[in-house]
């Protein structure tokens, strides 16, 4: 009996049961739908087995949007609970589970796949490559991420969600204080997704180092590619730390080791240190590509080249280095003494300098420009003031003595949402709107897009600015309720209203996608924004080989030069193109990882061994496999080129 009891949700409520039924029905509907329309074969051969960077990118995008919805629902529930003092909408346990999953989902399963989408879709196009360096590995990365995501979300309906916060500090996350399997899910799901991310890092570093178009030196790379490169360097050096930390946490929970326990020499703060040695670089993994996107967008719509290219690159390199030396600012209050705190306080504040340089460079990019207010540009122009606000509060938090008062309060919550939402989320939405025509061959509605940006911003200001105030008034974060006498009620209600307005903004985004899909004109050029970099030099939709002829690069904005300065982008004649074959192996291996992970969560050792053997068998199969890829013939390329409009350059 004990065996089956573990699968039940330990703290069920009507909401959870209703969601279970909802999720179950949706799954059944999807399966029936695919069967009815006879799409299983299409799904397998075109998507599940694909190694095409563009399709993998789109799958990342779909995952990210799905998770944005899930994390958003979590957020709304939290704000509803806190809207009134002594509210009883949620009890403590549910609130704890919700803020834990909100954090994990938004950072690891929403923001990460969203930037992975941009890496995948844009980087190879921007550097004029046919695909990434290791297409098969890229598919493995995606499926590991996807299975990790699936496993983490499964916790909601089988066994119970993790409830120790997204930082999962021990000993709270240990067996003694978190006895349900929730934290097992946390440790193992993030581990699987994390391995996928690490492989992406290796893949894109190699791609950017080795596969740039002729003439594109490092200092002629587009700014987004630069930011992607640096983010991937950070991934390669930061994620192994997480791997070790999660492995140790898993062993503490499943094998009874004493790394982070309170007995036999265990050290709880070791987890916090390892977590943040990964965790702080992680936020720069998210924000740097966002900066890259803003650089592309601002330069495109200011109709000017990016101001201070070299200092932009230098500041990103500096940020990436500093990001590894600031982790202790997440626990200034640990009692490590004034000297340590002073060192970390200074390194943290130092990050403000290169970040400030970037802000000024964007501002000077506008200078003498010819600014067009499109939706992506609107997001970017809202980003600058809002992000500056978040940035300066970061400097305030970096002052360690004052941080004793900010730490663990709503002030901190306000700060990191204030950098992540205008910094990362706006960049993702701006980038999505910007690249939408390249992805799908039509543009999103501009009017609805601008409405979305304004609604989100009004909601954002209402939702998060009050938190700065309640934080200074002593409201600790992660409290599921507060009494009326604290006086937090009014401002929390304002926050709730803001969150609700943001929700309306996201609904508008979905409606925009629906509306534009139905009504937008399909008759658009390959370059609807009059842009500057190589991804706009190929067709819409992008053929699987990206460019019929590898482009020649002379400056940081080759496509602009080809339009304005007579630079010849495509020289020579079409030759046959070597492409990788599709493979089902990455998906199958992902499934074995899922089985392995699920079995680990519930300590079902025979199934763990089966999963492990499956994974190893896939690796062995790959070792012996002979796969030399295939060639696309010249005739076939020419046919595709004529079919797509505006083919000749």
């Amino acid at each position: 009996m004990d065996f089956f009891e573990r699968f039940a949700v330990p703290h069920p409520s009507f909401l959870i049961y209703a969601s279970m039924v909802g999720i179950g029905l949706t799954m059944i509907a999807i399966v029936i739908g695919i069967t009815y329309f006879k799409k299983w074969g299409y799904l397998w051969s075109e998507w599940l087995t694909t190694v095409d960077h563009k399709r993998i990118g789109i799958m990342y995008l779909l995952s990210a949007l799905l998770m944005l919805f899930r994390g958003g629902v979590d957020a709304i529930m939290m704000r509803s609970q806190l809207a009134l003092p002594d509210n009883t909408l949620l009890d403590s346990q549910h609130y704890n589970e919700i803020f834990t999953t909100h954090g994990v989902v938004m950072i690891l399963f929403m923001a990460m796949p969203f930037i992975m989408f941009f890496f995948n879709f844009i980087v190879p196009l921007q550097i004029g490559a046919r695909d990434v360096a290791f297409p098969r590995l890229n598919a493995i990365s995606f499926w590991l991420f996807f299975m990790g995501m699936g496993l983490f979300n499964l916790s909601f309906i089988i066994g119970g969600s993790p409830d120790a916060g997204w930082t999962s500090y021990f000993p709270l996350a240990g067996n003694e204080f978190s006895s349900s399997v929730g934290t097992n899910y946390y440790m193992i799901a993030i581990q699987i997704a994390g391995i996928g991310t690490l492989l992406t890092g290796i893949n894109f570093m190699t791609t950017i180092l080795k596969m740039r178009a002729p003439g594109m030196t490092l200092m002629k790379m587009p700014m987004f590619t630069w930011s992607a490169f640096i983010a991937n360097v950070i991934i390669v050096f930061a994620f192994p730390v997480l791997t070790v930390a999660l492995a140790m946490g898993t062993m503490d929970r499943l094998f009874g080791t004493n790394f982070f326990t309170t007995v036999n020499g265990g050290m709880d703060m070791l987890w916090a240190n390892l977590f943040w040695v990964w965790g702080h670089p992680e936020v720069y993994i998210l924000i740097l590509p966002a900066f890259g996107l803003y650089s592309e967008i601002i330069s495109t719509f200011a109709k000017r080249n990016l101001y201070g290219y070299k200092s932009m690159v230098a500041s990103m390199v500096l940020i990436s280095l500093l990001s590894f030396f600031v982790w202790a600012h997440h626990f200034f209050t640990m009692g490590q003494g004034a000297l340590t705190n002073s060192i970390f306080s200074i390194t943290t504040m130092a990050i403000a300098v290169p970040t400030g340089v970037k802000i000024f460079n964007w501002l000077f990019t506008l200078w003498k420009g010819k600014i067009e207010f499109t939706t992506p540009m609107l997001y970017s122009m809202l980003f600058i003031p809002l992000f500056t606000l978040g940035g300066v509060t970061g400097v305030m938090l970096a002052m360690s003595a004052a941080d004793y008062q900010y730490h663990n309060t709503m002030f901190l919550v306000a700060h990191f949402h204030n950098v992540i939402i205008p910094g990362v989320v706006y960049a993702m939405l701006a980038g999505l709107t910007y690249y939408w025509p390249k992805l799908f061959g039509f543009m999103l509605n501009e009017k609805l897009g601008k409405w979305t940006a304004w609604v989100l911003s009004i909601g954002f200001v209402l939702a998060f600015i009050p938190m700065y105030i309640t934080g200074l008034d002593g409201q600790a974060r992660r409290m599921y309720t507060y009494s009326e006498s604290t006086g937090f009620g009014l401002l929390n209600m304002v926050s709730f209203v803001g969150a609700a307005i943001m929700a309306v903004g996201f609904v508008l985004l979905v409606y925009n996608i629906y509306y534009s899909t139905r009504y937008a004109s399909r008759d658009i050029s390959n370059d609807p924004w009059d842009a500057r970099s190589l991804e706009w030099a190929t067709h819409t939709p992008v053929p699987e080989y990206n460019f019929a002829i590898t482009p020649q690069v002379n400056t940081t904005q080759p496509f602009w030069d080809s339009k304005k300065n007579g630079h010849q982008l495509f020289k020579g004649k079409i030759e046959k193109i070597h492409m990788p074959n599709n493979s089902g192996l990455p998906f199958i291996m992902g499934c074995f990882f899922f089985v392995f992970g699920f079995a680990m969560v519930f300590s079902m050792w025979p199934l763990v061994i089966i999963g492990l053997i499956g994974i190893l068998a896939c690796l062995a199969y790959r070792s012996f496999e002979k796969d030399h890829g295939r060639y696309i013939s010249v005739e076939e390329i020419e046919e595709t080129e004529t079919k797509l409009r505006g083919a000749k350059q």
Binding site: Q93, T393, A398
Partner: protein, 306 residues
């Protein structure tokens, strides 16, 4: 453009709230440590507001002057690589601000980590504050008293809190007296506070510690030394002694009201002062050594994370 002004007014509103229409706890200090922190916070808010206003102003200027609708159709924006002087200014001003704030930050660090300013010549009152799910236990070893969930302290006397935990990491926080510090199960941390005035203050655990976290609070009463002495005397006359058995009961997870005992649990369940590892000893004599060992720890961490 309306939105920009809306944002700007929001900021002004924020500023006016902060500057005292209704004092926020953190900005209404009742002790020297909280005063240092509140002063730092206000000063940084003013400096940061200046930066924010500068960025807003430049942005608004750029957007007003260089929008496409204000320019002739055939205007072609020039190609500008960047300018060494402009970029040097963009680096220079932030560097100066950061240096200034760093000096301030380091100075305040040493202040909040030492006996509160103005109280150096007084013997501090040592109180062991330990947390368990989801309560606070206060042991007064000199007075030989233990309380649960409430804290009586003499005003105008430095207090040295020795913090540790019987469970998850917690964070001891009395906003009006000073910032927080972690209480952990394998080491003792020290927090120096003092109250300049008599009165009642709220205190709480600020670090998430599970189901009962939201209500993991305590009340602090600051009183004159004479009243404090009277209270100690009264406790010794009326309260029951704490035994291992009663203490184990107190440790069970849950919420409790206030209670008072004579004796302290330190007698049978001492604080984890001399545990293994480098970060434990916090006694006055080894303070120096403590910093050193900490430093080397940090160094090794640094090297390994290159």
């Amino acid at each position: 453009m309306k939105m920009k002004w809306a944002l700007f007014t929001m900021l002004l509103a924020l500023g006016s709230v902060l500057s005292g229409c209704e004092p926020l706890l953190v900005l209404d200090p009742k002790g020297p440590q909280a005063k240092t922190q509140a002063d730092d916070i206000m000063l940084s808010i003013w400096i940061m507001s200046a930066i924010v206003i500068a960025v807003f102003a430049i942005l608004i200027f750029m957007l007003m002057k260089y929008r496409a609708s204000k320019q002739s159709k055939d205007y072609e924006p020039p190609h500008i690589e960047g300018n060494a002087i402009v970029e040097a200014i963009c680096v220079g001003i932030p560097v100066i601000i950061v240096i200034f704030l760093s000096i301030l930050s380091v100075k305040s660090n040493y202040e909040v980590e030492a006996t509160p300013a103005g109280y150096e010549d007084q013997e501090p009152l040592v109180i062991y504050a330990s947390s368990s799910n989801w309560k606070w236990h206060f042991s007064y070893p000199e007075e030989n008293i233990e309380t649960v969930n409430y804290l009586y302290i003499p005003a105008n006397r430095p207090i040295e809190f020795k913090l540790y935990s019987f469970g998850p990491i917690t964070s001891f926080w009395i906003p009006q007296l000073g910032g927080q510090k972690y209480a952990m199960s394998d080491m003792v941390t020290t927090l120096h506070l003092a109250a300049d005035v008599e009165g009642e203050f709220d205190g709480r655990n600020a670090n998430f510690s599970g189901e009962g976290f939201a209500k993991n609070t305590f009340q602090v009463t600051s009183m004159s030394q004479a009243d404090f002495d009277d209270w100690v005397k009264e406790v010794h006359e009326t309260a029951k002694p704490i035994t291992e058995e009663t203490f184990d009961k107190l440790l069970e997870p849950g919420h409790l009201g206030r209670s008072t005992y004579t004796g302290t649990h330190l007698e049978f369940s001492p604080a984890p002062e001399h545990n293994h590892g480098s970060q434990d000893s916090n006694t006055e004599e080894s303070e120096h050594q403590h910093h050193d060992s900490n430093h080397t720890d940090e160094e090794s961490n640094h090297h390994s994370n290159h």
